[in-house]
Symmetry: C2
Subunit: 441 residues, 2 copies
């Protein structure tokens, strides 16, 4: 290898390395030419460092290469690390230069000013845009959230599963699924691992999680929807009620809130606050009570038995922030008519379900609940939704041979990332968004 050390690691050892020869590699971020001296800011994933090329001190061949440097040239530089009045406290006095790659045409977007371009342009040239340190931090945070998810659920006895994305039917109804030509059959892309995470619990794995892509053929044009995103899914058997599922979801968000200091540099870069969860826990408010709160506090009317709209979610977000000092709120007992057929209905009030959404700063980021595990009840639920039993036969079968009570939740990785950092559009949190307009780059 070009013995590449990350710039961050070189700087961390700056005191020891002072006066020593170092090799740093990366992209040329900026160039400043002062005649006899050329200053180059070199950038890698972890940081930036100023490099000084002094004409009198370099070979002719190297000088020629330095003259040819452009922004976004990819280089390795050997030189001596020395103290300097830069932000990093150090700079490199270059002794040689290896050019690994040069732009073959003018840049359509400048890395250091990429955020001034419109989002459409940035996504069009995302491989340049993502080199902007502020943009790349979004994805470093996203991978951190995924890691925390695995850490937390592994510690709770959950096992990772790998379920198929090519499926025989949608999890809800025929709508909103992408058809796949699968040899001589028509199959679909999974809208969620719903059926198969339940399958895994019933197959004896008891507590399972998965991080994987999900596909939604909804022709949305909003700042909150993607047609392909990554979902953090859990499913757990032997629950007593859907409160157990909320406990597991709450545990994960508490871990995020506690460990967020590990990525404090990213929060600071976005001026994002910490995650507030009250000592007493995340409030759990039945949706019927939410209707009342919205009407009495904000004059906002949601028809009884309907889902919350984005404005209602925002208002409720403000309400719990003020009233409970909480960034999060569980809305519980959603109406049966807005939940899918596999939701468990309340014993005494079958028009309502043992289900919940979790709102994070006024946006739904998690959906979950207890599932109907009783074979006959499940058939009734299908009938009640006007769905054909035949189409779900393969799913119904799972429940014929001993299925523990179970529930689970699906969490949007991009939505959680978006809400932690306060991003304005969910596309910001997806390296390569797929929406109605985009299947490239």
């Amino acid at each position: 290898m070009y013995k590449k050390a990350f710039i961050k690691d070189v700087l961390a050892r700056g005191q020891d390395l002072e006066g020593s020869s170092v090799r740093i590699c990366g992209w040329v971020h900026r160039i400043r030419d002062l005649g006899g001296v050329k200053f180059v800011i070199l950038r890698d994933r972890t940081g930036m460092l100023q490099v000084v090329f002094k004409k009198g001190e370099l070979e002719e061949r190297v000088l020629k290469e330095v003259e040819d440097l452009r922004e976004e040239s990819v280089v390795c530089i050997d030189g001596f690390l020395r103290r300097a009045p830069t932000r990093e406290g150090f700079e490199v006095a270059a002794s040689s230069l290896i050019v690994l790659s040069k732009p073959v045409e003018p840049l359509p977007l400048e890395v250091h000013s990429s955020l001034k371009a419109g989002l459409a342009t940035r996504l069009r040239y995302r491989w340049i845009d993502a080199r902007n340190p502020l943009v790349s931090k979004i994805f470093l945070l996203k991978s951190w959230v995924a890691r925390k998810f695995r850490e937390y659920y592994s510690s709770q006895g959950f096992v990772e599963i790998f379920t198929p994305k090519i499926v025989a039917s949608g999890t809800e109804s025929g709508a909103n699924v992408f058809p796949v030509l699968y040899f001589d059959k028509v199959a679909y892309l999974a809208q969620s691992p719903q059926f198969y995470k339940q399958f895994a619990v019933i197959a004896g794995f008891e507590r399972v999680y998965e991080i994987g892509p999900v596909f939604r053929a909804e022709p949305h044009h909003t700042i909150r929807h993607l047609n392909e995103y990554h979902s953090l899914d859990i499913e757990v058997g032997f629950i007593e009620s859907y409160h157990d599922v909320m406990d597991y979801v709450e545990g994960f968000f508490r871990k995020l809130a506690t460990d967020i200091k590990e990525v404090s540099d990213i929060l600071e870069a976005f001026q994002a606050p910490e995650i507030r969860i009250p000592e007493t826990g995340i409030p759990r408010i039945p949706i019927r009570r939410v209707y009342e709160i919205l009407e009495s506090e904000y004059g906002k009317r949601i028809p009884y038995g309907e889902d919350l709209d984005p404005e209602a979610e925002k208002l409720l977000g403000s309400y719990v922030r003020e009233k409970y000092n909480s960034d999060l709120v569980f809305v519980t007992e959603y109406p049966w008519r807005v939940r899918p057929f596999y939701a468990m209905r309340k014993d005494d009030e079958p028009e309502w379900t043992y289900s919940f959404d979790l709102l994070f700063r006024g946006l739904e980021v998690v959906t979950g609940g207890q599932r109907e595990h009783r074979y006959e009840r499940l058939r009734e639920n299908l009938r009640d939704k006007g769905l054909k039993e035949e189409e779900f036969q393969y799913y119904l079968e799972f429940f014929k041979h001993g299925a523990p009570p179970h529930g689970g939740a699906g969490m949007g990785l991009e939505r959680i990332t978006m809400q932690i950092l306060g991003l304005q559009n969910i596309r910001e949190a997806r390296l390569l968004p797929r929406d109605t307009e985009r299947i490239t780059p």
Copy 2:
């Protein structure tokens, strides 16, 4: 919750819990009726435990429930833990029983004898088959491999990425991709994250990894192929040669070999040996030399410039086991004609490439190499393969604005699992296989 403790954890604390009340939950594995006493073996994900129901000591209501128990009933049992001459050294003297779920029809497959059924039947009723402890261990090992992969590459400065599975073109040619109806366009399912892991390196993330589904529309009927599987992918920038990539792959397999003792119970259950890697490293043998070895040692002739067939892979596996005491071998410098257009060709011998496969016990489990990062060369490669530049325009663009030399590898999670345990069919290592016949369950 039903305060469910895993059976393994109860047994681990057996000494302390002896004489205490415990609650265990799971599936009824077997029932033995001795008239006045009923023995039930209860099973959960982690183990089994004998439960004793003694008629004289139980309420009428409980007795009735005990009578109704069937294999695969899902129950929670309260009782006292006591020493017993069972394999576990303990049993539970039941005081009460909660039946959570009962089979609604006779079992099409018995869990304790599921392995006697044919694979087709087992996959048809996989949610029952997977309850067999030997079967479930396959998937516990698989999730362990995935965890080790993340641990190793995280420790090497790799970042997790989440790339789209809906793509505008295949990574090789038009063949072997599943078409997706994406709104009013035709898109495809990604055969691998190849283009987008390269994208991520070029976008400044430098070292990336991903675990995700890949889709191959190959109408295979073999014991080594699946149409959907999970791929462990890495890509790394700033390499000096493709040996750097092999070093990273070797590091991961060394970690597997070292840490495998963490799952020694699983290896034992399958009578699987440890993973042998010689001190001197995994042998790296150019394919031209492999042709010679196969011919001189085994009389096996592979036409010069062709890929190895499964028999050749097996023979080479035996050869390195004998000669190097190694379970693994890198075959290097594959012919250009059998590698995809993005492979980097050798400088001095353009009919050969800087690429490799890794064979594990005679089966290819990893494919990798250095990628062509030079824009003009990449265009030449496309032309040389007879591919249309227009179709790969969106990919070519990534290389126009500073792309470091890079390479990477894709590893089959199911194949690695299969080879560690010595499974006979890759479908054994996939909970829900997708092949030409199967899109359900």
